[in-house]
Amino acid sequence: MTEVYSIEPLVIKIPYEIEYRHSYGETSPFFLNIAQGKLTATRCDHCKMTYLPPRGDCPICLRETRWIEIPDVGRVHSFSTMFFAGEKFLKDIPFSLAYIEFDGVDTVFLTRLKTNDPKKLKIGMKVKMHMSRDVEWKASDVWAEPI
């Protein structure tokens, strides 16, 4: 039965549910490697660039990249604590996000920064990357924690 939100003007509620069969395609190894406890990025030997999140093709020269393992220790490039979120993540607030710099990686990587004390977070602080043992095959399978 249609649920009515208001009569004047007439506003009805329309539920909408969808299941995507979403392929990670060329970036599948990133998620599969996390399940093995390995953080991997892609490298273009021609441009000497390393990408994390991975790119299957180098955006500079468009040659195919190769997978490399990267260290699981990095530094906070920027951070913020969320007190609001999209509907899907409201249950998680408050939580912190951070861009992480890794030696040898040319991009910064956005991830959850898990801490019990968000007031102590600062730019430049060292973090260790943690990987879920109970993977959901999502980017949330990896996160950072202060060392």
Binding site: S6, P9, V11, I14, Y16, Y24, T27, Y51, P53, H77, S78, F79, S80, T81, M82, F83, F84, A85, G86, E87, K88, F89, L90, D92, F95, L97, A98, Y99, D106, T107, V108, F109, L110, T111, R112, I123, K138, A139, S140, W143
Partner: protein, 433 residues
């Protein structure tokens, strides 16, 4: 300077009242409300049948839950069987739509084009709306960890503070400026007094109000963040020959630029000395700055560089009289001052602090109230900016707004700045009376 085949003028504009929820009308009727204002309230000699085609500007199929909505709008306005195209580019949708219409007229493809921008964000609740907007970020890596736009902008603002010493107080000054300008614009969603569809009990705010408003994502607070709106905006562009017949007071489009950057802000380069320079800038200013990093919008810089080149702007602060700037966040208005070359990189916070961008300053920014004070009905936003700039240059902003306080006196050159994603697309248009 770049010379296109034909000169193009904006000859008319119209807006709806903006609101958190305009449930009284469908999207197509909102478009008609704005189109009627453009056709009947601008003292022009133009019949509806003189319009040669439309560009329809809306952002999200998710909000509207109707694919091919461009056709619905074009049909409802009775423009069949004339040509039409839908433009989408996130937050920059409206600015890109204005550029599309400009290109169609400049090229000689059409003589008179109506740009129709709209969005109806009240079709879903606010947190679902934030989720839909977050789908305009990378959905494999940035969204699944809880990323959403206020979060991304908070991370960028934090880095801007770290690099340049920008403060939460300076950001609050932007919020106060834009919100308080909106109190003299009857179309503005936060204008409780003049807008019959306005939000209740909004009105003017102080720096203290902003600083005490709850954090959404540190350092951004509730009052640092733009609105979500329902509404529509219409702009009519015409060739020189037609424009002179339509109005005695055409406003010429003299520059257009679009810049782009990585979908994920973290993928942007961090290259020392990598700033694309504007004519008045010196290389040594930025030799030690990692650019663009996550603190600056290279797309905004690039869009401005192109538009300035076309328009012959060599000193934007002196040569431009007002800007309608995409203030999705107070921090991004400050960042954008720098991208547009109104001050050196790092000087954005100081610029607002010195009052330069106030309505009575040297270069007023967002006299309409912008996205923080007036509206952000995404697909309508860039078109609204064009309408605002048009009325300002015709000296009619006060008349349309219902208060003389928003009119920038003697304005001859205006710029509009339309921005998407984390700085993914930026469209800049320069207009001159």
């Amino acid at each position: 300077m770049i010379i296109l085949p034909r000169k193009v003028a904006m000859v008319s504009g119209g807006l709806t009242y903006f609101s958190k929820a305009r449930r009284d009308k469908t999207q197509e009727a909102l478009a008609a409300e704005a189109a009627r204002m453009a056709l009947f309230e601008n003292d022009i000699n133009l019949e509806k049948e003189d319009i040669d085609g439309s560009v329809v500007s809306y952002f999200s199929d998710h909000f509207e839950n109707q694919l091919l909505f461009g056709a619905t709008i074009h049909d409802y306005l009775g423009l069949n069987p004339k040509p039409s195209v839908r433009i989408e580019g996130g937050g920059a949708t409206g600015g890109l739509a204005i550029r599309e219409a400009y290109a169609q007229v400049a090229s000689g493809l059409l003589d008179v084009v109506m740009v129709i921008g709209f969005e109806k964000m009240s079709e879903v609740n606010t947190s679902k709306g934030n989720e839909f907007i977050a789908l305009a970020s990378d959905t494999d890596f940035d969204f699944p960890i809880g990323g959403f736009y206020s979060g991304y902008y908070a991370l960028m603002a934090q880095r801007h503070m770290h690099e340049f010493g920008t403060t939460e107080e300076q950001m609050a000054m932007v919020a106060v400026k834009n919100r308080n300008n909106a109190q003299y614009n009857k179309f503005a969603q936060t204008n409780s007094k003049m807008n019959p569809y306005g939000m209740k009990n909004m009105g003017k705010i102080t720096i203290d109000d902003v600083l005490k408003s709850p954090y959404v994502a540190y350092p951004l607070k509730r009052l640092d963040i733009c609105l979500m709106s329902d509404g529509a905006a219409v702009a009519i562009l015409a060739s020189e020959e037609k424009a002179k017949k339509i109005t005695d007071d055409p406003v010429w489009i003299i520059g257009s630029g679009v810049g782009t950057d990585a979908m994920r802000a973290g993928d942007r380069p961090r290259k020392r000395g990598g700033v694309p320079l504007l004519p008045h800038e010196k290389k040594e200013w930025y030799s030690n700055l990692e650019y663009p990093g996550i603190h600056s919008f290279r797309a905004g810089r690039e869009a401005a560089r192109q538009a300035y080149k076309q328009a012959g702007i060599t000193n934007p602060l002196k040569q431009i009289d007002l800007i309608e700037l995409h203030d999705a966040y107070t921090s991004s208005e400050i960042q954008t001052y720098e991208d547009l070359g109104l001050t050196k990189y790092g000087g954005g916070g100081k610029l607002v602090e010195e009052g330069v961008t106030q309505i009575d300053g040297d270069l007023p920014v967002n006299p309409s109230g912008g996205l923080i004070g007036s509206m952000h009905a995404v697909g309508a936003t860039g078109v609204m900016q064009a309408v605002e700039a048009f009325w300002q240059l015709q000296g009619k902003a006060g008349k349309f707004h219902g208060s003389d306080k928003t009119q920038v006196k003697g304005a001859e050159t205006a710029m509009i700045h339309s921005h998407a994603g984390t700085g993914t697309y930026v469209a800049v248009t320069i207009m001159r009376r």
